[in-house]
């Protein structure tokens, strides 16, 4: 009797693990959206790019406890770099994306080398300052960046020499979606690795991590560079798919919106970054279509409601649902 119960309980516990399931889900969801909203591919691509950007922020804030309001610095630098690279060096999108990622990591390393020696409010102010400096520099360097008019007129070569970036945005959408799925896979591996778990340890107690033998500053620098690289790639994707880079890619508003998306979805969960981005962008899109002057009111109400009733973000709804299923199973 007892044995049969144990066997039954083990059977319930046994999960069929499908490798790459989350990434497959992202790709399937993207394909479904492609067929449901074929005339909104530009907007869908924007969501995918933002999701990648918010993921980079999640690595910093959600997993390592680094609160920043200047992540747009790396996004914008990646975007301008990808645009300029396509214009003056080589139009290949993948090489351009690689360069955008390297530039994002480079900006993060240089700025992080002094910023990460500070904490809390000082750090946040410095992140804003760095992004504003780059914003001002891009605005001043009109000959290179196009200033207020933005950088445009660059062409991106077909992906793998086959898929052209068409007017409808099909190639851009699937290209961005694939990069997001790949980045998600890498992030999942990273946060599960000893390195990622040490990042969580840093979030909880840096002093303890030092006492355990971790070079805290070096670890923070690496994480900041990885997140910077991801943000750079997101910026590069934005430049390649839209083929215009504006000053807003370096703006404080972009950093702040990414933070709102992350908090909305839930920090430190990866999926939270995706869900928060989708909800924010869709509500923004719909509310702006209804009334362009009051869309921020809708976003504000959504954020306040979420923070008040779901302090862990919209992902908390998933936790509640899973707890409810567990209770149901037990009562059976």
């Amino acid at each position: 009797m007892f044995e049969s119960k144990v066997v039954a309980s083990n059977a319930v516990k046994r999960h069929v693990k499908v490798p790459l399931l989350p990434e497959i889900c992202i790709l399937v969801a993207g394909v479904v959206c492609f067929y449901i909203f074929p005339s909104n591919l530009g907007f869908l691509t924007e969501i995918v790019v933002m999701a990648l950007f918010v993921l980079s922020l999640d690595l910093l804030l959600g997993y390592t406890g680094i609160a920043t309001l200047g992540q747009a610095a790396m996004f914008g630098a990646g975007a301008y770099c990808a645009g300029l690279f396509a214009m003056y060096v080589h139009p290949d999108p993948l090489i351009g994306l690689l360069v955008a990622g390297i530039i994002g990591a480079g900006i993060a390393l240089v700025s992080g080398s002094f910023m990460l020696r500070t904490h809390g409010l000082s750090f946040i102010i410095l992140t804003i300052a760095v992004a504003e400096l780059l914003f001002a520099a891009a605005n001043q360097a009109q000959d290179i960046t196009g200033g207020d008019n933005g950088l445009y007129g660059f062409a991106v070569a077909p992906l793998f020499g086959i898929f052209e970036f068409d007017f409808y945005g099909r190639t851009g959408f699937f290209y961005s979606l694939s990069i997001l799925a790949l980045a998600f896979l890498l992030m999942r591996q990273l946060v599960r690795s000893p390195f990622g778990l040490a990042a969580k340890g840093l979030r909880e107690d840096q002093e303890r991590m030092r006492a355990l033998g971790y070079p805290v500053y070096r670890h923070l620098m690496i994480i900041y560079a990885i997140a910077g690289s991801m943000a750079g790639v997101a910026g590069g994707l934005s430049a390649q798919t839209v083929q215009v880079v504006g000053l807003q890619s370096l703006s404080f508003t972009l950093s702040a919106e990414a933070l709102v998306m992350l908090i909305l979805g839930g920090t430190g969960r990866l999926y939270g970054a995706l869900i928060g981005t989708v909800i924010f962008m869709v509500v923004h899109h719909m509310a702006a279509a209804l009334d362009p002057s009051t869309w921020m009111l809708f976003i504000g109400l959504l954020l306040v409601t979420t923070v008040l009733f779901l302090p862990k973000g919209l992902m908390q709804l998933f936790d509640i649902f899973m707890a409810w299923i567990k209770v149901g199973r037990r009562s059976e």
Partner: protein, 241 residues
């Protein structure tokens, strides 16, 4: 044997504190591999500050601090940990949002992942609870996790700050027995700060008694048992349990 040839920790006339205030002064002792030093004293005597100073968590104000033949007084906390000092603080500092296994992996600090299995062999209870989060553990389990995490980095000297605080007597006895076995088995040194005088006297090979940050006694546990003046004055006990 000179300080630089020593294989253990040598502390001479150590002064340290916080924000310019001196908390411990003239602290002197030496401990070799395989030895166990117990530090006793009333609350506020400077026991925790002494351990924190060894880890570089306070303001060093003077004195000699040599570990395994090298001057560690100017080293950062992480360098001291890498040099072989394992520290279990009074607050345990378990990462509550991480599971037991994740806590152990996060504490690897460059050690191979197989060390996690070693931790489970030292404390099988942790293996049973490996999926539980830090805040879902009992006080004893948290302490086991803190000790296991410190031992995983293969230290040559373990610093334990009141590991039995808040534990039931039976559990405290079991944990202390386990710690003693592990220390004997690995041959490392250990400095134990503890309020329970009898535990310290039974565990240690030498004892240091602090009073208001200054050493007032240093010797063997047996000698201390015959010093009622120290037991009464500095520790507040008429006689040991």
């Amino acid at each position: 044997m000179t300080i630089k040839q020593s294989t253990g920790l040598t502390v001479e006339s150590l002064r340290a504190g916080y924000d310019g205030t001196c908390i411990i002064e003239d602290v002197t002792f030496a401990i070799q591999r395989g030895e166990r030093l117990g530090i006793l004293g009333r609350n506020g005597a400077g026991k925790t500050t002494t351990l924190a100073t060894l880890m570089g968590l306070t303001q060093y104000q003077g004195g000699l601090l040599y570990f395994e033949g090298q001057d560690i007084s100017r080293m950062t906390t992480f360098q001291r940990a890498r040099a072989g000092l394992g520290y279990v603080p009074q607050t345990r500092d378990i990462f509550t949002s991480l599971s037991v296994e994740e806590n152990l992996v996060a504490g690897l600090a460059g050690q191979p992942k197989e060390r996690v299995d070693d931790a489970y062999s030292w404390f099988p209870r942790l293996k049973e609870r490996r999926c539980n989060y830090g805040n879902q553990l009992s006080g004893g389990e948290q302490q086991m996790l803190a000790v296991a995490r410190a031992l995983m980095s293969a230290p040559s000297l373990l610093l334990l700050d009141e590991p039995l605080e808040g534990l039931a007597p039976l559990l405290a006895e079991e944990l202390m027995g386990k710690i003693r076995t592990l220390i004997d088995h690995t041959g490392i040194g250990c400095i134990l700060v503890e309020q329970h005088v009898d535990v310290v006297l039974n565990f240690s090979t030498q004892v240091l008694v602090l009073e208001r940050g200054v050493p007032v006694y240093q010797g063997t546990p047996d000698e201390l048992r015959n010093r009622p003046d120290v037991l009464e004055g500095a520790i507040g006990l008429a006689k040991t349990a």
